[in-house]
Symmetry: C2
Subunit: 199 residues, 2 copies
DNA sequence: GTCTATATCTTGATAGAC
DNA sequence: GTCTATCAAGATATAGAC
């Protein structure tokens, strides 16, 4: 309990970060207001600028980077139990479809919408989102390489599997259906299988 | 020349629609202002509401639907010359990578960013974007079915190929690189090949 | 550190002269 | 049909009392 050290500031900062993550994935970066975030976090408006002096840009970048780190761990947790790379990939998509439905078709990926919005307009946020995508690709590529896919092909396979998942989220949200994600799971399995066969 | 019938209104309306399409794909729906669109179109601000009395919502929906129709024709034009479904798919991704670079990494798909932004917030726009994605999927599925992929699998394959392309655009824009789209081309070929083999 | 009030700017939209 | 002026509401951000 000595974590708080007499101040109770850490909780507020974290709540603002969580609210930003939640809202960005539902209404996007430009579509979400700072007041909206403060209200959702149960924090006074001024606190946002106390903890994030860089304003919306800083908050956006921290949301992307922290979410990126969380999901990087998730990839490891999801994949590690499996020896069979094809089955691991297919089952991850099935789980993702479930998450999509649980979120009532809000974006399961907290980076995707923001990444598209800022790619042509905000260089700092664009870099942050790419570094996140790149870290995921690297982690997944290592897992595939470990399973027998040669180095360069492992990276291309990982990149394509992540792209397929992001695109399937896009179609699934748009359709309010998990069908595109489930279909993508079969396709992802085919991609990994082909790479293992050296095709 | 009797198309104009004495009025010269059609040109202005079309220019507004074009400017909206161009800006939405670069700065998104919430990130683009009506004044910005008027300026880019070289039209007085009031003209937007003259031609689009429904305001931004109407303009957004028309942008999505007209772009959707244009790209639906594009799918046919791209695929028709090929007998080989695998080669057709792979070459389409190579062409898409070129387009991405030509656009200086603006979104080659005028629907994607808007679709993610509005999926959880604007029901009319969500439906419009889904109807576009669905029309593309149907057209591509028919092409695959014609090439020997059984009905239901053809649809799943088409859906996954489109998802993969959209996701690859996302990664490519974020990275400012065509590499993810080129990698996705190989993966897309593997998806179609697997479906043709009945796997 | 918390919280409020305010400054400044931009948004989508409307009214009305021409 | 064109174009301008204006509105009310929202945005981001800051200043300063407590």
């Amino acid at each position: 309990m000595s974590d708080d050290r007499g101040t109770s500031t850490q909780g507020t900062r974290q709540r603002i970060l969580n609210a930003g993550t939640e809202l960005f994935r539902r209404t996007g970066y430009t579509g979400t207001g700072m007041k909206q975030i403060a209200t959702a976090a149960g924090a006074p408006f001024g606190s946002i600028y106390h903890f994030f002096p860089g304003g919306k840009a800083q908050l956006g970048e921290e949301v992307i980077r922290t979410s990126g780190a969380v999901y990087l761990d998730l990839i490891t947790a999801l994949m590690t139990p499996y020896e069979d790379r094809v089955a691991a990939t297919a089952d991850a998509f099935t789980a993702a479809a479930g998450t999509l439905a649980e979120l009532d078709f809000a974006d399961p990926c907290p980076v995707a919408t923001v990444a598209l919005e800022v790619a042509s307009t905000d260089e700092a946020l664009r870099r942050a989102s790419w570094e996140v995508f790149d870290s995921w690709t690297g982690r997944l590529a290592a897992y595939y390489a470990d399973g027998g896919i040669p180095g360069p092909a492992a990276r291309e396979t990982a990149s394509s599997v992540i792209a397929l998942l992001e695109g399937a989220f896009m179609l699934g949200r748009s359709a309010r259906s998990t069908a595109p994600v489930l279909a993508a799971g079969k396709a992802a399995a085919a991609i990994v299988r082909a790479a293992l066969d050296g095709r």
